[in-house]
């Protein structure tokens, strides 16, 4: 049994990345992800790694691009406005087929917004992390332990499919302290024959590039990437189904929000409402089939988010009209309370039984 530590979400995240073989962190200060960078700044010099504070988010993500092109496990961490700045680099990393880990500890927006917890970057992460046709892997942990487990998973899948992975967290999860254990697993080893290391006179030069001036060549490259996306959608979806066995109603929520929903689900069950929780753990690939399968079996679904309603669109697309889907949420850093969610569940179920 591995040793248990009491750690903050942000610090556990940084430690998990180090244990997954990350030795290169490039960051720029922004609230509320500061502890990730601070932890890296303290630990990296002790283990022969790199913590480098870049001059901007743009520079940081491009340092990640350079570092990842050498085959190393590179990482950057930021919060919403900073992720917007990284959009350029993320698109180039997608187009260059490079693996890396990006953390977004979400805060309220748009613009400078606020610094309180939010889930308002769902669309950005899952639909358009940068320009062009392309996706990134998006993981949404809901506990400190799950952060640790998903960091290892994120690096592994990023290298398997040669694409960026993002951990989408929020200030609540980042600041939360929970007991956590680090699995004693060696990071998976993947083929890196594409990496830039110098030819050593033994092979032809490797070129890492996202420019294809011939339309057909670009289309073929994008299509090949989308073939990989199909495999990911088939094989890598993760979802938690909680109290769904006999459920007549389902609430969809992810990340820290799902914990609040869980409390409300338990309370609703005490009142005799047969309700369960569907918690996507991968936001891309989205658990489309899993949620679709529940559609015809549910009287109604409710999506709860810390935004004006973003994931709810994917839930509606998934069930495709097979059951009504309503939405409840707060935004700007206002966190929906268990009582509010319970009231919404009761409303969905037509009042307590």
């Amino acid at each position: 049994m591995a040793e248990k530590f009491l750690m903050k979400g942000n610090e556990a995240l940084a430690e998990a990345a180090i244990r997954s073989g990350c030795r290169h962190f490039f960051g720029y200060p922004i609230t509320p992800q500061t502890e990730v960078a601070a932890y890296m700044a303290k630990r990296m010099p002790k283990i022969g790694g790199t913590y480098l504070q870049a001059e901007s988010e743009i520079a940081a993500i491009n340092m990640v691009l350079g570092c990842a092109s050498t085959g190393a496990r590179a990482m950057t961490s930021s919060s919403s406005p900073g992720i917007s700045l990284k959009g350029e680099g993320i698109s180039y990393i997608i187009g260059s087929d490079l693996p890396c880990l990006i953390i977004n500890v979400m805060r309220g927006g748009p613009g400078l917004g606020g610094i309180q917890p939010s889930q308002a970057d769902y669309w950005q992460a899952t639909k358009a992390p940068g320009h062009g046709d392309g996706q990134i892997l998006v993981f949404a942990p809901s506990s400190v332990q799950e952060i640790v487990d998903l960091v290892a998973k994120a690096y592994d899948l990023a290298e398997t499919y040669r694409m960026p992975a993002m951990l989408l967290a929020d200030g609540m999860l980042g600041q939360m302290m929970e007991p956590v254990e680090f699995p004693e697993v060696e990071p998976a080893v993947h083929d890196k024959s594409w990496a830039l290391t110098g030819t050593k006179g033994k092979r032809k030069p490797n070129i890492i590039n996202s420019l294809y001036l011939q339309p057909k060549e670009l289309e073929d490259t994008v299509k090949a990437r989308f073939k990989r996306y199909e495999i990911i959608q088939e094989k890598e979806v993760m979802i938690e189904e909680y109290k769904m066995e006999d459920a007549e109603y389902a609430v969809c929520a992810y990340g820290a929000m799902a914990r609040i929903v869980k409390t409300a689900v338990v309370k609703a069950r005490e009142k005799g409402i047969k309700v369960g929780l569907l918690r996507p753990i991968t936001l891309w690939p989205f658990p489309q089939k899993e949620i679709a399968a529940y559609g015809p079996k549910m009287k109604s679904m409710l999506c709860v988010e810390m935004s004006m309603g973003q994931m709810v669109e994917d839930v509606r697309l998934a069930v495709n009209g097979s059951c009504p889907v309503s939405f409840f949420g707060h935004t700007g850093g206002v966190i929906p309370s268990p009582a509010e969610v319970l009231a919404e569940i009761e409303k969905m179920a037509g009042g307590a039984n």
């Binding site: 743009i58 691009l65 350079g66 990842a68 092109s69 830039l196 110098g198 420019l211």
Partner: protein, 252 residues
């Protein structure tokens, strides 16, 4: 039979896409020759820019990565921090380095990042068809300064070597030109010195190369080379702007 001359191994056999009279070809060859002569070609990782040299990854015969516009020094930083014993260089134009990538240029320089930047200054955006660059001369006519660059309206040209020479992280900064044979010889010596500074881990090095763009200057190749002497060099004097290669820039 003894070989008295052959093409450097630092360049591939690919035909370049550069316009007639463009001096990118000369600069590519000088860089490639220096990589070969210093024995770092097999260990080199180059970073291509956005601009006319965007396809430099097809021409240099070493590992290459294509950077987003202006970000080459940040990309090079990521490479060098991962592989400190590899030779890392960027090849950038004036729009890339002195406009959109100014922050990346200045901060990789002030960090004393142990990389070499080859900065090609031709006073214009070539790839997009001849717009005003940060280095476009006062009065110079471009597509976006059709009445000549009015410095009271569009601001003044950036003198990169002068600016960077004030930074403690810069080990070597020199401005050269490739418009005649003596200048080309000096340019090669400068590139070699900058590369050697990196090999010896002395800090950030940059060679600014004054280059011709006959197509977008609206001149013949010969007129363009003369225009460098008459207009570019007076505004951008050639010479060494910083040489800290003796001691290096890093504290003991």
């Amino acid at each position: 039979m003894a070989i008295v001359f052959q093409k450097t191994k630092g360049l591939t056999d690919k035909e370049t896409h550069y316009c007639p009279g463009c001096t990118h070809g000369i600069i590519h060859r000088l860089v490639a020759e220096c990589l070969e002569e210093l024995g770092v070609l097999d260990n080199a990782i180059g970073v291509a820019p956005v601009g006319c040299a965007v396809m430099a990854y097809d021409y240099f015969n070493c590992d290459m990565v294509e950077a987003p516009h202006g970000r080459a020094p940040a990309v090079a930083t990521g490479i060098k921090r991962s592989l400190p014993d590899n030779f890392v260089f960027t090849y950038q134009g004036d729009g890339d380095l002195a406009a959109i990538g100014t922050a990346e240029t200045v901060h990789s320089a002030t960090r004393g990042e142990n990389i070499t930047v080859i900065f090609v200054n031709n006073a214009i955006y070539g790839m997009t068809g001849g717009q005003m660059a940060p280095t476009t001369l006062p009065g110079q006519v471009t597509q976006t300064t059709p009445y000549g660059r009015d410095v009271n309206y569009s601001g003044f040209p950036v003198r990169v070597c002068e600016m960077l020479s004030t930074l403690s992280g810069v080990a070597y900064a020199e401005r050269v030109a490739v418009n005649n044979v003596p200048n080309i010889r000096k340019a090669k010596a400068a590139i070699k010195k900058a590369f050697q500074a990196q090999i010896d881990k002395k800090g950030f090095s940059i060679i600014e190369v004054i280059s011709a763009c006959p197509t977008n200057w609206g001149m013949t190749p010969v007129e363009a080379l003369k225009w460098i002497d008459d207009n570019m060099i007076p505004y951008y004097p050639l010479g060494v702007y910083k040489d800290a290669t003796e001691k290096g820039v890093h504290a003991e």
